[in-house]
Symmetry: C2
């Protein structure tokens, strides 16, 4: 139990990271409202909290301004995690990232401004570093250029949040994540591989050459950092979140296959990048976050193994997710 | 005359920089279409070109997608200069920068994508460097945070353009300008000061303490760089544009007063920043642009004096501009 009980909004609260954050906030005694359009989130993530009076679900579309006002009403803290997370297929609907990641962010900031809500916490991405010239990449690395619509929209949202913080409208914390793994993980590399191997353990198709370096963080470690941020009253903090390790796609395939006890024939599509705009090497310098006392607990290997185990135990997600 | 005659769109072509660019492009023999909603642009900037068959005016609002398709149709090159340039009063209409600077940029990029137009040239701003840690500031300075809605929207547009360039949709050149001066300059510090002094040469109100360092570039030098960019076929270039000097606001007041032959009593509002989000010190490292052979011709002192002389000779602008 915490002494400072707060009313907290989590946008995208029915998603992977969001729902894990909600559990942690409720456990700490806070009152939590989620705003989610359930386009990729799941109600079953809240089975244990359905009748919790400190928990409220708003099934709304935040692209509409009124929804944002409704969502933030009476809150002390806003965690803005809702986003179009379909990084890979951005070019099939190029306006979607701008609408869902930028316009929604500004609608929420305006709602906070009008209702006097002080604390705004945002989930950005290590992809904003593009093809980083400095590895591991620190928050103040050389000014990068963008390589995907997804990252461009996240950077755009960061810029808006910074301007609002600078003007004294909100205190803001921006987190730039590596890829997150763990319970309720429902899209990305590991998801795709496990799905393929559960269908057919004898073969695996891999985008690129398998040598892309990836950095992963367990969702529990991510959530610990997010929860701590609600207490900060700095005007603007930007923190990378990740582990001090990387794995290649080939190494993560090995861990997955060991966990699933299979030995597939691997077909590589070739090339150094998985898809147009994929950042082949993401490895974040997390010195700044660690200086606040945060320390990730799980290794990448643990995270991959636990994710595979959760997916195997939760195979309903493969029926719900067509990708 | 150039050998490679092109059909060129200039958005915001009726504005200060745009109309000067149009003159230069027409002089080079190109065919030029402008797209402008004339909210801040002036038809009289085109008096000499009104009957030029190589010149076309589209009076349209680019926030509408269809207008963007109409604007780029048949063009080889797009100069995207249209923007909400009201930096100072951004907080009176916080969604305007996003709409006019970001959504329009994406509508244009989509129109280019659908119509196969290869070259996209964009006017960004040195304000994207926020409170720069490195002075003079180079294009790859430490990753900055945003201090105004205007700069945040320009950075957001840069991010989108980079993502489109990265995906091979367009070849792009992004220019980050210091403040531009010269003929047809119709808003900003120097405009405000000259307007005040023409009304009453005995007194002058100055935002801040007068010690803010400003960097200016003459519009002719800016246009030379813009015109050269149409020939480049790099995937993505980002260039700072400015002179190798700075002036303080007080120094520029001195040049203005000398030119106007007046000696006002100066009232400072105080504080190091002119307004919320004003960047008190902008000084750009232009090594990259100079490496391409570009070299500014006019000093800041020349630029201020010529601007004042143009404003005095064109006092109709003060009747049209209420700010």
């Amino acid at each position: 139990m915490v002494t400072n009980i707060q009313k907290i909004l989590v946008t995208g609260g029915a998603g992977f990271i969001g729902s894990n954050l909600v559990d942690a906030l409720l456990l700490s005694g806070h009152s939590v409202r989620i705003a989610d359009n359930f386009s990729t989130g799941f109600r079953r993530f809240f089975q244990t909290n359905e009748n919790n009076p400190a928990f409220e679900i708003l099934d709304i579309n935040l692209v509409e301004e009124d929804s944002c006002h409704q969502a933030v009403e009476g809150c002390d803290v806003v965690y803005h995690l809702a986003a179009n997370a379909d990084v890979r297929f951005g070019w099939q609907h190029p306006l979607r990232d701008t609408q869902q990641n930028l316009v929604v962010t500004q609608n929420l900031l305006e709602a906070c401004r009008k209702q006097g809500i002080r604390k705004f916490i945002f989930s950005s991405t290590g992809s904003v570093y593009g093809r980083a010239k400095q590895i591991p990449t620190s928050e103040d690395c050389p000014f990068p250029t963008q390589t995907s619509l997804y990252a461009a929209s996240k950077l755009a949202a960061e810029g808006l949040i910074s301007a609002y913080a600078e003007a004294g409208v909100v205190d803001a914390t921006i987190f730039r994540f590596v890829s997150i793994l763990g319970q309720r993980y429902t899209h990305g590399h590991v998801f795709d591989f496990v799905k393929q191997l559960l269908n057919d353990p004898s073969r695996l198709k891999v985008l690129g050459d398998g040598n892309q370096t990836k950095s992963y963080l367990h969702v529990n470690d991510c959530v610990v950092a997010l929860v701590r941020a609600s207490d900060s009253n700095s005007k603007l903090d930007i923190f990378n979140l990740g582990t001090n390790e990387t794995v290649t796609v080939n190494q993560s395939i090995k861990i997955i296959c060991n966990t699933l006890n299979c030995d597939p024939l691997i077909h590589y599509t070739g090339g150094a990048e998985g898809w147009v705009g994929d950042n082949p090497h993401i490895f974040l310098d997390t010195t700044a976050a660690r200086a606040t006392g945060w320390l990730p607990d799980k290794t990448i290997s643990d995270s991959i193994r636990e994710t595979v185990e959760w997916l195997v135990a939760s195979d309903w997600v493969f029926l719900q997710r067509s990708e």
